[in-house]
Symmetry: C2
Subunit: 502 residues, 2 copies
């Protein structure tokens, strides 16, 4: 371990992960750090899972509720799920073991907008928060708390929790100090001030988290890397989707529908987003800014190139290679990257003000522009809505991107009616697949249909056209014509036969 | 006619409605004033409809696109629809003749959030705006434009349109002058300032609309009342729903989950909203504020009682009796009522900041908390989403209210799966019927089911329970268990047999 605890009072609270886990009770609601696999506690959750297993073996119940920033990692969500130690989870997850239990009905999962969860906790909508477990990079001699690779809800959980456990992780670079911008002014609304972010580069808070020291019951040392999943190499479909978006932005710029410089962009996590970022690297746009949730590899390249002047987010989501680069060069990047509270990175006030372009992935869209981001065949939770709703709902241009098919072509991303709605037809401006851009702006539902069918996979286009033709014959209204007997038949067929194809 | 045009330059442009209508061309996109039946032009649209009929009879095409604030009245939407003079309509309507043609497929209707349409037009997403037709109360000697009984998108249309026609309506009280607050700072985002509303009572703009006088091609005089539909007397179901909400607020207040004074409230239009307002008249809460879309009768009573200190909105929606009272006493009410641009009355930044309680009606909700506000049996448009999305998405407490049944008990407001989604499960905090409050906060979808079934009509509860039981057996996941073969069966049965009952 590095020597990262420079304050005597906190040094006196150092203990093992096991001893810290022993301070957590059955039924506690935990507020834990962690966002897209970065900045989550890595020792106490494992010890807590072991404790839960031992309790269960002794015939005693031991389960906790778990609030995070967003998704974490096997050491946290995975271990606790495997130990059957979680009965409630919010606001977002992407863990295979947790997902299994959510869909088996043994974990109750409230899938909540990432900007809403902290205000909801603050308002008392989720009851009492018992213990916060927060990863730090260091504790300075004066007691200042240097955050690590995500901010997420950390300050909100530190404010709300009765008891606090810190994990100080010496894997995190000490040079991260100064990259963070923790806004401490958030309290129960009504607020009598504006969120003072007027440009992605505005710093409005403190470099440090704050806590009432009397609440801190344990400090645990640790030296483990973040999850940092590698990105797959860019595939042709992702590259093609990215180039359609970039071509569209070029045309919008020529048509005078883009401000100059380009408004701040948000991009969801993943390969298509990284392909878009790679495309921007070689495109015409300069002076780019990013006001988004997570810092991905592509943004680091854009910063290196000078095209991206600032990237504002709440967390890293880097490949191992780029995480190393970040750790080695944090001193360089900490002026160009700002990590904020997720209430600020995803704040509707700021998103609307900046006139943002928001780009997110999805599971499926229907011929009328409704978007499903969360559910497989209507019932099964994949990950969650995350921040996509925060951005899609308040951006100036709301874009959803998707490959036209999944499961080797068995599943169409364009269906007659989505099996779950996370983003309504009222919020969707563009849908982009490898076959092009469906521009839904200013169109009635019926006018959207040909635009959307055009970007479906060719195998499914005749089926969609036939659905629309029949729907117009049998529907009780021509605003959004549906044949309710067939609207969900593609999903039913998939469940029954393993393909949406007839 | 009263003498309301005190400026010589505008006096010289006075002409008949017929002459003004002759200045509008086939294919024009019109930006027209009007919001919930108040402040819409009442003469030019009738003349335009006559002109369209004559053109059609002469074998020539004549149709226009129509942007308003929200719903208007028979003289506008009704006459133009009857004349087959509308090919595109946005962002909201509630007109029977327009609805008929939307559902017949002859009018394309883009159902857009009321706070989004003006920014979309400004961004160029809807093409060129040709003519604005805006009702005024008066034109002062210095050319100042006194608005009438709604602001809506008037300033946005005046800014965007190539040509402008004013209707000056002497039925509107001259004492309205000073009630309005027209914010002129709205331009294409990114904005470098906050919307400076920090309390419902904040005035941030001008008493007058502004226009480039060179664009004004006609001024038409008029003396016709607003639509002003009478409210039905409060029925028992509405009273019961209102009392459930008020009891809930009492409990929240006792539990410390409501700020003191109570945060600003928004309420949708209609009888349930008026029942809630009537309930507040006799309830415990003082120093109420309203930050909402429309001023309804109940708010006038609350102002009279001293319980409501300020009501901020974008339009009136009064009964004839209360409209007369408002006109007779505008001098008294203009300090307590503020009519704003609908971009401001419905602004997500302000709604989030104020930590609002938003209460809107709905058509149906499903057992998981998804809400349909717009579509009858999936295909047929009723009115539109209006501002419900603006508020529901950004409020601190999002409430939907509904009688448990419609059509004499044949239709259940609670169904297995809604046939269209306007407000997702992520946005819905409470659903209230005459049977009680379903509190969905912090619950997983499965946990919401019993809470929601409890407020369904008793006739439908066993059917809902059976659906949920079967869904859990057949679903591919237990997060949101659905039986896709039966999910929309209630709507299909209604269409086939005239009732959702078996």
């Amino acid at each position: 371990m590095g020597n990262r605890i420079h304050n005597a009072a906190y040094q006196s609270k150092v203990m093992s992960a096991e001893d810290a886990a022993a301070l957590i009770n059955d039924g506690d609601r935990l507020g834990v750090s962690g966002f897209t696999g970065s900045g989550y506690p890595k020792a106490v959750p494992i010890a807590l899972a072991a404790r839960a297993k031992a309790e269960h073996e002794a015939g005693r119940s031991f389960r906790v509720g778990l609030n995070t920033g967003a998704s974490t990692a096997p050491e946290l969500d995975g271990e606790l799920a495997l130990a059957d130690a979680v009965d409630f989870r919010t606001p977002y997850q992407s863990d295979p073991e947790t997902r299994k239990r959510i869909n088996a009905g043994s974990i109750n999962y409230a899938d909540i907008h990432l900007s809403h969860i902290a205000p909801q906790v603050r308002n008392g909508f989720h009851g009492k928060m018992d213990v916060a477990i927060i990863e730090l990079t260091a504790i300075k001699a004066d007691g200042s708390l240097v955050p690590s690779s995500s901010i997420g809800n950390n300050q909100a959980w530190l404010d709300a929790a009765d008891r606090v456990i810190f994990e100080v992780n010496s894997w995190q670079s000490e040079d991260l100090e100064g990259m963070h911008d923790v806004f401490g002014g958030l309290r129960k609304a009504p607020l009598d001030f504006a969120i003072p972010v007027f440009h992605a580069s505005d710093r409005i808070g403190s470099k440090y988290l704050t806590v009432d020291p009397a609440k801190v019951i344990a400090v645990v040392e640790n030296d483990t890397p973040d999850r940092n999943s590698p990105f797959k190499p860019l595939d042709d479909v992702s590259k093609s989707i990215a180039s359609h978006l970039l071509d569209f932005l070029d045309l919008e710029e020529k048509a005078g529908r883009l401000p100059d410089p380009m408004p701040a962009m948000q991009s969801g996590v993943g390969n298509i987003a990284n392909a878009v970022l790679a495309g921007l690297l070689h495109g015409q746009f300069e002076n780019l800014t990013s006001y988004t949730e997570v810092i991905q590899d592509g943004m680091v390249d854009l910063i290196d190139s000078g095209k991206l002047s600032v990237a504002s987010a709440t967390a890293f989501s880097l490949s191992p290679e780029y995480a190393k680069k970040m750790n080695d060069n944090a001193k360089f990047y900490r002026d160009k990257i700002i990590l904020r509270n997720q209430e600020i990175s995803n704040n509707p006030e700021v998103i609307r003000r900046l006139g943002m372009i928001a780009m997110n992935g999805m599971i499926e869209a229907d011929i009328y522009g409704n978007v499903n981001s969360t559910h497989i065949m209507g019932s099964r939770m994949q990950n969650g809505i995350g921040g996509s709703g925060d951005f899609a709902r308040n951006a100036a241009l709301t874009v959803f991107v998707t490959p036209s098919t999944a499961k080797d072509g068995a599943i169409s991303a364009i269906v007659p009616m989505v099996s779950h709605v996370d983003h309504t037809e009222h919020d969707t401006d563009l849908i982009i697949s490898e076959y092009g851009v469906a521009d839904l702006r200013g169109k009635s539902p019926r006018q959207r249909v040909p635009a959307i069918i055009k970007i479906a996979h060719p195998d499914f286009r005749p089926m969609l056209e036939e659905y629309f033709a029949v729907a117009q014959k049998v529907a009780n209204g021509q605003h959004t014509p549906h044949d309710l007997s067939q609207a969900l038949s593609w999903h039913q067929r998939m469940l029954a036969t393993g393909t949406m194809k007839v």
